[in-house]
Structure formats: structure tokens, C-alpha cells
């Protein structure tokens, strides 16, 4: 799906749970879309596209925010819990820990919306669960 078409559709969409979406395109070297769920206090989801994937990312925390002595325990906890988190996985980009979901570029609109909503719910859970490891 073309990201520009996706923005238009998503901006007018309302989920069964009553969530709507505030979308904003971010200018840069690659096409990035920022999506915030109105009615859900969460984190912004950033969407970017490669030749075969649509990647939805939430930036969680940076290395500087981790309590140094808890770092290994936190990493183990992330590995242990990763498989339980629906449709999302952890990763690190540079010094930033992220939660992301990857979909095929041929995914239909509903699947991308499902990913955005689930990712947001997951991110809130993850930050709450990991806050003891953070400064």
C-alpha cells in the first residue's frame, strides 16, 4: 500500500473501539509517517516502508536511560518476554531500543491498523514492565 494513500484512509478511519488516528508525514531521506492514536494515551508509532516490508516502530528508551547495573537483567527480560508480545518484537537502532512490527507491503489496510493499535498497547505494557530498569 502506498503510504500517502494510507495516511488519507487512516486519518478518516475509526476503529470498533472508537480510536481515531492523527497522522503526520515527516520529511527526510526516507518516507516516514508518524501516527498517534487519539483516545489512547500511548506513544507515537512511526511507519516506514522498504521494497518488501512495512515497518511500524515505537521508540522506547535509549541506552542512557537504563540503570547501568540492571542492564543485563533488562536485556534478559526482553529476550524472555519477546515471544509473548503479540505481533511485535524488540530491537535496537543505534542507541535506541524499539518495539516494532513488520508486515508485508501487500498487507491490507486492516492489518496495518491492527499492527498500529497492538504495537501501541504492547509498548505501554513494555515500558510499564521495564520501568524498574530505567532511570
Amino acid at each position: 500500500m502506498n503510504l500517502a494513500d494510507f495516511v488519507i484512509r487512516l486519518s478518516q478511519f475509526r476503529t470498533n473501539e472508537g480510536y481515531t488516528f492523527e497522522c503526520q508525514s515527516i520529511d527526510g531521506e526516507v518516507e516516514v509517517l508518524q501516527v498517534e492514536m487519539a483516545g489512547f494515551d500511548g506513544f507515537p508509532v512511526y511507519i516506514t516502508k522498504t521494497n518488501i516490508q512495512i515497518i511500524c516502530i515505537i521508540y522506547l528508551w535509549s541506552e542512557a536511560e537504563i540503570i547501568e547495573e540492571s542492564r543485563v537483567e533488562m536485556l534478559e527480560m526482553m529476550l524472555d518476554t519477546s515471544i509473548s508480545i503479540p505481533l511485535s518484537s524488540y530491537a535496537r537502532v543505534g542507541d535506541r531500543y524499539v518495539l516494532f512490527g513488520a508486515l508485508s507491503v501487500s498487507s491490507d489496510f486492516d492489518k496495518i491498523v491492527e499492527e498500529v493499535v497492538t504495537l501501541n498497547e504492547n509498548a505501554l505494557d513494555v515500558v510499564s514492565a521495564m520501568e524498574d530498569f530505567l532511570l
Binding site: I26, D27, G28, E29, V30, V32, Q34, D41, G42, F43, Y46, T48, K49, T50, N51, I52, Q53, I55, I57, Y59, L60, W61, S62, E65, V93, G94, R96, L124, V127, S128, M130, E131, L134, L135
Partner: protein
Amino acid sequence: MNDNKSNENEITGMHILKKIIATIRAESQELTDAVMGSYGTRKIELEYESAQSKLKEAKLALTEMMRKERQSTHIFDIIVEKISQKELLIDEALSHNNEQEAMKLAFEVVDLELNRDFQAESISSIAKNIAYLQGQLEQSERELKEINRQLTMLNTTENVRKATATIMGNIDEADASLLSAKKSLDRIRSKQKGKVGSSPLNKQLIKGFGSESSVQKSSSCESEVSKNSALDVIKRIQDKR
């Protein structure tokens, strides 16, 4: 210079994920360029194009071979049919004691049989070639898929890095304090508390089912939330200064 070249070749010869890991670990510009730079990506793109061209060639050759096989099988069938007809004619000639005619037809059958054997050999050879080409085709398909997978990994890594740089630049400009996960969590929690305290549903529940003390508790909770929110506003403005 030569050392650099051999090092470069060694790098590009490595498996793509290993290259990405090496890049992340080393964070050296040279490695980054080798893996992510236009040279590394272009080299893989060229490999992809070459594999695609091999695949196209193999498909064309296979189509040609299959055409030849069909042609030879058709000729073979015609010869076999002709042999059957000639054998019937020989039988007929013999039944009329026309040995001369029978002998003439027999020579023709021998020629046809030689041709038939030649065609059979040709069909068998073509079949072997088809099998070989099909193997080559599958090999090219696998190669193509693998190169495509490697390109995807490169593109994804490159894309996510670029996207992150763009996003971080954008957030830094907007509000640096938003980057802290804990601050965000606190902000979300205080917002949620605010919503629980002031939501019409909550007020209705208190009105309908709550005791006076629970209403008082709720009011004190609401004022606490307001106080927290006000502190948040002051903090936010102070952070911006």
C-alpha cells in the same frame, strides 16, 4: 591500496547478516560504506541483475529445448506410423507373392528404423538437456531469491537507520523531554488518572452508587490530579526554557 581491495573483497564475500553485525559492532565508516554504501548495495544489485539475466537465458534455452523435444517426438511418432504402414504393405506384398515389392519396402523400413533410432537418441539427449536446464533454472531461482533477501536486509537496515535519524531530528526539534520513556509513562499515567477522575461515566457511577465519602475521596483525588497536572505544565515550561 591492494590490501584495501582484498579487504573489501573479503568484506563483500561475507554473509550479509555477518556484515551488518560487523558494521554495528565496529561502527567504522569504512565498514558502513562497504555494507551500506552505494558500492556494497550496487554490488549486490549487480549480482541480482546477473542472476536475473541468467534466469532469463535459462528460461529461453529451456523453452527452445522443449520446442525441439516436441518436434522430435512428433517426427518420431510419424516415423513409427510410417513403419507400421510399410510393414502392412510388406505383409500384403508377401501375401501376393510379390517378393520384389516386399524387399523394396523392407529396405525403406530399414531406413525408417535407422531414422527412428536416431530420433529416439535425439529425444533422449534433449530430455537430458531439459533436466539439466531445469536444474539450472531452479539454481538461478534460488540464487535470485537469496540475493533478493540480502538486498531486503540491506535496504531495511539502511531504511530504518535513515528513518530513525529523521525521526530523532524531528523529536529533538519538537520536545526533547518526550524522548524519555519514564517521563512519557508518567505523563500517560497522569493523563489516565485525570480521565478516570473526571470521566462522565465515573461521575455517574459515583452519583448512582457511591457513598458520600467515596465522592469526597474522588474529589480529593481529582484535586490531586489537577495539582499533578499543573506541576506537569510548570515542569514542561521549565524544561523548554
